[in-house]
Symmetry: C2
Subunit: 400 residues, 2 copies
């Protein structure tokens, strides 16, 4: 009579990711932008130095510029005298080295006899304390590779080598479509049976942070025709379709019916908690993720299925989330046979080791993710971890 | 005749931080903003729930709503029959629970005899599979504490509890003043002796990421009067003064003379490499940091002195940068007596452990920080680490 969750698949997480991440999603598009505004963008081409950096030989220390050959015989017992203007010249860090000189002696190693006469007690090799032309980046050499996330220092390197503009990948355009007749925007006062739609905040916050642009579609009533029209229109203008599947009235099935009608359902039901009813599909080569309605499940599905997708678009592979060994401050109970992701907050102990506080509670509870730094993954065959056990905590906001 | 670096102090890093972070910097200012736009901002007051979340009792599973008391006698040998409309009602996840009922039996545990008659084989306790009113956040309870960095899920929790606006700390206003007659903007072609000013990109990129607003002052000629005027004007409109001290012509001394004239120099010279000539001061209760001109030194001084300052403004203390145990892929040599920060790139090995690649090279080389994930700190009494040694790598972009 009713479709229930027992009818969903229970594909393993690895298998679901393998199936979903395999297709060639997203058209590669690139745009040329001002390098000054490029922090956080990802290069679509390698970038080479337009000129040497540094572009002239300069002093790396305050001191005197000399001809190294001329200092060969200096030693502490036979100090060598140099005439300013003829044998040497004062230079400060950054000053160009006059063409006739090829080394610098540090000011601390120089004994000034009078305004024009300097005594040294050690020879100096060619190139000493000189920043050579192109020693940071040589003209024509690669400064930044393709698929590189531009950090502030990368932008500095590009500008320093004469690259005022840079080709970057266009941001993928994601859209989130919240579905459900009981949903209302936060600005309205909910009456009994109405739920304030807030998952869009979680979706936008994270997906924008990962480098996509995010459009939030107005709430769509729980009706096949409306959901279908919204998805169809979304496909025309977006690269990634995210559906807020809701948690009630077999709504997950509208979504799967719509996706099946317009494209293909790849996976519907993944064997992990919280988030089992996640739907993974494809329409016109565009990835579609049906996010389970409970906020914790949405949060987790975003990290497990959407983040790796955006990463693949930018880097060809997903970088790894940082994992930290940490000591449990409370025991964890889990259900055998299902992988569980327990939200967790990390703390650095006085001795430099890490403690991890598990935040257990229903998937409906925002309070369990507010303040979580990441999660502890409890495998299928583990029923509990004891207080004090050393576990691996995955951080949601740090990558390597 | 010339002031040289040997005349600088060599205050230990801990001592320099203790001195610099002690004064009460920054006026606490707050503003009320739309919660929808508050991701990344930090609360200036605790926020309480304006209403219960959830605000009505609802089904946590698809099934039938019942009066628990009525199911007391059900057992597998004596199934209990319930009449729809009188003893029970079908509910889907999220549906309000009718007032007469107080528990839900999962659809999987229900045997439907006909459209109106249902058989159950087990009793159910009061509250089972019901999301109680206020179980996520009760009206009046704290949703988010003061000094809390608003994540996407925190914004969802605020909107879900009826908080459409939120009081947050104003962003501290930083200004970066690059000083140096040889500096030119990246848009100009440098001739011999001219250096393209790119440190401002590093300053802006990081300091904005940490939550401050950053103004980049036009390049200031290397002249006491100009530097003094720029600093004086900057103090009127900003909370944090960052000076690009340059690396040559004793320019560090202009900066210290200017700061001493307008306020107080707290520390000039810290015993670490690269970045020894850093200057820490205060003018009109506003922190002033003289950043050494080499880009690696600027990058490091920002992380060691500016980041903790911004953190203190927001959180009353600096969060900790994440540190990871990792195996060195190359030996490191360091100078005894000076703490050294060796740039490093982290890699996750196939077995889940971490490798760390040291990126050694002069402090002038942007190429050693482009692609660095953080650093390895080599203490004063260590001269080298061997290939394969287990060291602690600090990540610049992850906090706990």
């Amino acid at each position: 009579m009713r479709r229930v969750r027992a009818q969903l698949q229970a594909v393993s997480l690895e298998e679901a990711q393998r199936i979903f991440f395999a297709p060639e999603f997203f058209q590669a598009r690139e745009e040329e932008i001002k390098t000054r505004e490029a922090v956080g963008r990802v290069t679509s081409r390698p970038v080479c130095a337009q000129r040497d950096l540094p572009h002239y030989a300069s002093a790396a220390m305050d001191g005197i510029a000399v001809k190294a050959e001329r200092t060969r015989l200096a030693d502490p017992h036979h100090p060598l005298r140099l005439k300013r203007g003829r044998d040497c010249e004062y230079v400060d860090t950054g000053d160009p080295i006059p063409d006739t000189y090829d080394a610098v002696i540090k000011i601390e190693d120089v004994h000034e006899l009078d305004a024009d006469t300097i005594e040294i007690t050690r020879p100096v090799p060619v190139g000493k304390h000189i920043r050579a032309v192109g020693e940071d980046f040589a003209q024509g050499a690669q400064v930044i590779p393709k698929d590189f996330l531009l950090t502030p220092e990368a932008v500095a390197a590009l500008l320093g080598t004469g690259n005022l503009t840079v080709w970057v990948k266009c941001r993928p355009r994601a859209i989130f479509i919240p579905t459900g007749s009981e949903l209302i925007p936060p600005e309205k006062k909910p009456s009994r049976g109405q739920i304030v739609e807030t998952n869009s905040q979680i979706v936008r916050g994270y997906v924008e942070r990962w480098g996509a642009s995010v459009t939030i579609h107005p709430i769509v009533l729980n009706d096949f025709i409306y959901v279908r029209r919204a998805v169809q229109e979304a496909c025309a203008e977006h690269d990634l379709i995210l559906l807020g599947a809701g948690t009630s009235k077999g709504r997950g099935d509208w979504v799967s019916e719509v996706v099946r009608g317009l494209g293909e359902v790849l996976v519907h039901g993944v064997a992990y908690h919280p988030g089992h009813p996640v739907l993974l599909g494809v329409i016109e080569r565009k990835p579609v993720v049906g996010l389970p309605g409970y906020p914790v499940a949405t949060w987790l599905a975003l990290h497990l299925f959407v983040w790796p997708l955006v990463e693949r678009y930018y880097f060809g592979r997903a970088r790894e989330l940082i994992k930290i060994q940490a000591k449990l401050t409370k025991p964890i109970r889990s259900v055998r046979g299902f992988r569980e992701f327990v939200r967790a907050r990390l703390e650095r102990a006085a001795d430099g080791s890490y403690l991890v506080h598990p935040l257990q509670g229903g998937a409906s509870k925002l309070s369990t993710i507010v303040g979580a730094d990441g999660w502890i993954e409890v495998p299928e065959d583990v029923e509990h971890y004891e207080h004090g056990a050393l576990v691996e905590a995955t951080l949601v906001d740090a990558v390597v």
